[in-house]
Symmetry: C2
Subunit: 147 residues, 2 copies
Amino acid sequence: MNTIIRHLDDFRWDGVPVLNYKEDGTHFKAISRQVLFAGGPKLGAELRYFEIEPGGHSTLERHDHIHSVMVIRGGGHCLVGDAIHPLGPNDLVYVPSLTWHQFRATGDQPLGFLCLVNVDRDRPERPDDQAVAQLKALPQVGEFIRL
Amino acid sequence: MNTIIRHLDDFRWDGVPVLNYKEDGTHFKAISRQVLFAGGPKLGAELRYFEIEPGGHSTLERHDHIHSVMVIRGGGHCLVGDAIHPLGPNDLVYVPSLTWHQFRATGDQPLGFLCLVNVDRDRPERPDDQAVAQLKALPQVGEFIRL
């Protein structure tokens, strides 16, 4: 890859394509993905930038691999496990293994965040009916989640 | 670790200690380190935030492991290989294996950047007299480097 990748403006980078959030799937809304560092064995991890437009959200899911997240634009909220957290610039979010999580741009600004993951990772799992019922029974979580 | 680590202000995070740049060594100036995500086998990589005060610099060094860097505060310049590059907010820097590199806060503002590395990595090597002579012979690089 190039030595320097210039930030152009507005959280876009020279030569870095703005991709669909996922290759397939429909359980998300108004979210894009840019791969900033593709990783590989020498790095061990991959760094992506996700941006959710106001009103949008990531997929409600869980997986064995962990997420290490840093907000770099705007704000919003996230569900991690059984709690909702407000998010602002430079806040860090740690999503442990097998923990339900969802990010939402709840206000009038986008929510842009870096997300660091292992290059070797399992596929996410979406909640089944029983898991949805359990999440909906939790205070605040029931109203927060988008399916 | 905690689910949320709040950004306090001024690129400091709640409960994240501001550390010496290195455990030992003297070939750097006015630079601090904060470990934002310590990594471990499930993540594969570690995310650190380095901040160089105006006039300061990182160690001129190289190593087998690669650096993936994102500037998030201020600006400055870096040497990667045989070229000097200006740096501004959100610019990305890829430092390949065994490539001489040094970061400097060359202006009147700090240079703050995220640096992503493999959890398993080799120790950096400093240039010997021959390598210093080769670097000093390069246009611009000779005046840029700090030993």
